[in-house]
Point group: C2
């Protein structure tokens, strides 16, 4: 029988890649035949975690139906964030912590979503429920997912459960949460040697509301100027993406991980909707969003609401 | 703060009603303020369980947004099977064992689905995970849900977990699974004093595939003739529903709980699709489906497939 493929979303972040690894480890430990794969190459932050815990980079796929009938999704459920032929596959399981949208199956499945900060916090529960021990390197990767998604517990998406899980995993992995955590996040802010196209695709998600196509890309930094010194180049690249993909709205969210604020760059015909959504006025397509760090909790819900009210 | 309302699907069956009761009990035990309600009156089988375990009938609602902001769904997720104003409400949790379709949220939520025979089997796990003791009468209602959904373990949807859960719950409730189980199922087959309209609405679900509106009603019996002696009356009532609701296809599935076979009555413009779906030829709108007892596992998947291939 062909292997069940397990993967996170397109433009994978650290949670997407490490959750595929940890959930596949768990599934294999309880007797399934699975392989973790990725829908894109790891970003610098994820690569830092993989190197630190001596784990091989995952095989990248763009289609799955040629090699398997069944897949399991981690850290996403919306079909437009998944493998291109997702509609042709049987989805055996989903482990996620996002809203549910544009997702459907023909058959009943295992679906486990909780409103926590990171998929790994849920996967830790599953390890316990199945009485499977977590090897130190897997625990380290799971910890990395939590640090990344919660910005070292600073994101409003972070829950008590995430913090507790992170400390438990750190002790199995044998690392100091704060020291390792800041090193991991900083590894992801190396922007200087990257082209605009690359910066836009590092961690980006698309969604549709009432027929409007929206894309929200996010970049972490330790200084807004590291990104905005490339503003002209970024605007060109965003406009190119808008015209190719027909986006109505493109938000680039640049998040300062030290101050926990974001600066957004907004383009597209529906840009005024972003102004309504956040109660801001764009100046030269820019605005500061004080205290905003979470795309899932602070960007997508107000955008969705503003788009639905149109 | 207003109470969180918890309910199962429209045209509630025993699992829909008893799962609202048991999940609400659990939520209240862990500190939430919830009330179990129903989207319809209990059928005879459910009423037998409620009477046996001395539980009050649930309040029936048709709208929820006038009295609460948040709801939790059990035993369903598809919006067309839910309360009429579901799109205006925050869905805090879903506990279900069906496929996922026509379901979406703006925010992350708790979603727990497993491919088991009954929602109560999942709720039993949740009681254990939260270390909450189950009172005997709640255990009895949970057991009733499992017996009803699995036709006393004869349905192909029934898993080892359901059987184990049922025996565990029977021992808490202090009843014999087989004796109580057959009494419960028989209580649901009292057809003689019911009008056709009533029989069609006892346990019916609607869904849409590729723009085609489908309704599948199911009736349990101990003899097909008990139902088919009212065939003319049933055809009239089905045709009336088809014209009012614009169904493309209406299936009445009559299931003999002693023999584990079903006889279907099929009407609507898309009736030939049902013939393709099950590889049958309808005679006077009827056909026998040998060994078919489960709408979820043996009726809806082939129908969905045949409708998608059109």
């Amino acid at each position: 029988m062909s292997k069940i493929l397990i993967f996170g979303h397109l433009n994978p972040d650290t949670d997407a890649i490490t959750s595929a690894i940890s959930f596949s480890y768990l599934q294999n430990a309880i007797g399934k035949n699975t392989e973790p794969v990725a829908l894109g190459i790891p970003n610098d932050e994820t690569q830092y975690a993989l190197d630190y815990f001596k784990t091989k980079t995952l095989r990248v796929i763009t289609k799955a139906s040629e090699e398997t009938l069944e897949v399991m999704l981690v850290d996403h459920n919306e079909f437009q964030q998944s493998v291109s032929d997702i509609s042709d596959l049987t989805i055996g399981a989903v482990i996620d912590h996002h809203r549910i949208s544009n997702f459907q199956t023909v058959n009943p499945l295992y679906y486990r979503a909780e409103p926590v900060g990171c998929t790994q916090t849920i996967i830790l529960k599953l390890f316990k429920e199945n009485h499977i021990q977590i090897p130190p390197e897997i625990a380290g990767l799971m910890l990395s997912g939590i640090i990344s998604d919660t910005l070292l517990f600073k994101s409003p998406t972070c829950t008590e459960e995430d913090i507790k899980a992170a400390h438990e995993l750190a002790s199995i992995a044998g690392v100091n949460v704060n020291v390792y955590g800041l090193d991991l996040l900083k590894a992801g802010t190396n922007i200087s040697d990257k082209k605009a196209e690359e910066l836009l695709s590092m961690d980006a998600k698309s969604f549709e509301v009432d027929g409007k196509k929206v894309r929200v890309a996010q970049i972490n930094c330790v200084d807004f100027n590291d990104v905005f010194c490339k503003k002209a180049e970024l605007i060109n690249a965003i406009n190119k993406e808008i015209s190719i993909q027909n986006y109505d709205l493109f938000l680039l969210v640049v998040t300062n991980i030290l101050d926990s604020d974001s600066k957004i760059l907004v383009l597209g015909n529906a840009a005024p909707i972003a102004e309504n959504a956040f109660g801001i006025t764009l100046h030269e397509n820019e605005a500061i969003l004080k205290g905003v760090v979470s795309r899932k909790k602070q960007i997508i819900p107000p955008l969705t609401k503003a788009l639905s009210n149109k």
